[in-house]
């Protein structure tokens, strides 16, 4: 699904965010990305979504070499991914239903498709009753579930979550990662950045640790050995 071949990224201010990263993430995998602040986790995600371009190396997402992608093609790449953010990034003037429908409008889905799919996704994240609510009327956990529902709207093959549990209470964090796990079982690749060790310990998944711009460990569980 994702391949990093000797990828390095140095920002214009001279900060070396990533150094010679080599990593393979297969189709249908669930991977936790961990590391301290400033370790390079966000840059890692930004390179996948083409928000940033590497100075060196090659990145392949799906079958697409990102170095070959033109600026105008980036939106189409992003439509194959679902993104979930720590701060939810919902449009507050829109209802829950409209926030999800919006992502489908972006890809040119028909009204009929939208009317069919949005209630289905709301069912997946247990928010059927909140379709008409505005984001501000929801708890942090509920808002994040809307964020996840929006990410799922266009049936992505890859979900990228940047600290999705950072703004929700611990009990809700488990519920949210449970949802990610469910989605992963249906075949979607999940890449999740997190700081919460309790989640990593509880959900036994592959864990990639980045420190100072390098991958320092790549294990199947937090306490386990290298693959």
């Amino acid at each position: 699904m994702i391949q990093f071949k000797n990828v390095s990224k140095v920002y214009s201010n001279g900060t070396a965010a990533l150094k010679h990263i080599n990593l393979n993430i297969g189709d249908g995998e669930f991977v936790f990305i961990v590391g301290s602040s400033g370790a390079g986790k966000s840059t890692f995600l930004k390179l996948i979504t083409c928000e940033e371009r590497p100075n060196e190396g090659e990145i392949i997402v799906g079958k697409q070499k990102l170095s070959d992608i033109r600026r105008s093609e980036v939106p189409y790449l992003r439509r194959t991914m679902g993104m979930v953010f720590q701060d939810f990034r919902l449009i507050h003037k829109m209802t829950v239903y409209e926030n999800i429908a919006f992502a489908m409008h972006v890809v040119g889905a028909s009204s009929k498709e939208i009317r069919k799919r949005v209630p289905y996704i709301l069912g997946l994240v247990n928010l059927q009753d909140k379709a008409g609510c505005h984001p501000r009327e929801l708890s942090g956990g509920e808002q994040q579930r809307v964020g996840l529902a929006r990410a799922l709207a266009n049936k992505p093959k890859l979900i990228i979550a940047d600290e999705p549990t950072g703004n929700v209470d611990p009990a809700m964090s488990f519920e949210i990662v449970d949802l990610f796990s469910e989605i992963n079982k249906r075949g979607t690749t999940v890449l999740m950045v997190t700081h919460e060790h309790s989640l990593i310990k509880h959900f036994k998944k592959r864990v990639v640790e980045i420190q100072k711009g390098s991958v320092v460990s790549d294990r199947c569980t937090w306490e386990g050995g290298n693959d």
Partner: protein
């Protein structure tokens, strides 16, 4: 594409209501700018029209030599007409001139004072009433006329001509710079208003881009918003301008002899220009300001 456009069009309309405070601010700014520019243009048009009428009324008289045969006078008139700067040339025979003078003095005077001045006793010479195309070339034209056979004199108009020419130039130049300055100020204010609107909605742009919206998908609702706000502002400001101008000219004509340009025949054109200007300003303002955010990516849009 059409499906998306109808959605984006509706989104643009909805956004006007959702961001009603900023929409109202934009409408007010556009109205002020259009009103200021419109008022300056109307002022300039009025001054120009007044100048033209002053120029028209002050026709120049060319007097022929005494007892010159009429045929000779007419021949001289043809010569005058051939000159480059002549707009009109009307022959005023001495009989007509004395009648006009009598008319000016009233019926009583007609009988007593000027009764014996008709026919062969008419002391007035034949004359031509001429108007020139370009008042600034008055002196040269006067010199050319004086050289024509049969011409006795030409009334001295050079002082007034020079003054009118100077005033005309001043008004035209000042009008041009005032309108230009106002247009520049308007653009500055509008682009800043749009920038503030964009700033408050940068998170929305960020979200749109993260779910894979193309730049055009992001742009269209903002352009629709700008165009609708422009149309609205254009209609309101032309209405206000017509109303205010009507009242002002009414007040002005009642206290002075100054006659103003009637806005009636102009109002259709003013509304059209205002609406078009509003649309262009609105759409351009939207496109220019959003371009800044479209070039950025992710968190950079919201300056995280």
């Amino acid at each position: 594409m059409i499906k998306s456009f109808s959605y984006l069009f509706k989104e643009g309309l909805k956004n006007i209501w959702s961001n009603r405070t900023m929409s109202l601010a934009s409408v007010c700014v556009l109205i002020s700018c259009l009103l200021l520019t419109g008022a300056a243009v109307l002022f300039s048009v009025n001054i120009n029209t007044a100048m033209k009428s002053i120029e028209g009324e002050n026709s120049i008289k060319v007097y022929m030599k005494e007892n010159l045969p009429v045929l000779e006078s007419i021949k001289a008139g043809e010569e005058i007409k051939k000159l480059d700067n002549i707009a009109s040339c009307e022959f005023v025979p001495k009989d007509e001139a004395i009648e006009q003078t009598m008319g000016m003095l009233g019926q009583e005077a007609d009988k007593s004072l000027l009764a014996g001045m008709t026919g062969n006793d008419n002391p007035l010479p034949d004359a031509f009433k001429i108007s020139v195309k370009d008042l600034s070339k008055y002196s040269q034209t006067a010199e050319q006329i004086k050289k024509i056979d049969g011409v006795s004199s030409i009334n001295n108009y050079s002082d007034i001509a020079a003054k009118l020419t100077k005033l005309d130039k001043t008004v035209s130049t000042a009008g041009f710079w005032v309108v230009l300055l106002l247009a520049a100020v308007s653009l500055f204010i509008i682009s800043n208003t749009v920038r503030v609107t964009m700033f408050s909605r940068r998170l929305e742009i960020n979200i749109m881009k993260s779910v894979g919206a193309t730049n055009w998908f992001v742009r269209v609702p903002f352009i629709v918003e700008g165009v609708v706000i422009g149309i609205l502002s254009g209609l309101i400001s032309s209405g206000i301008l017509a109303l205010m101008y009507g009242r002002m000219t009414k007040a002005l004509t009642s206290i002075t002899l100054f006659s103003t340009v009637d806005i009636g025949p102009l109002i259709g054109r003013i509304t059209l220009i205002f609406v078009l200007a509003g649309m262009v300003f609105g759409a351009l303002g939207g496109m220019i300001s959003i371009g800044r955010y479209l070039k950025r990516e992710g968190g950079d849009i919201v300056d995280w």
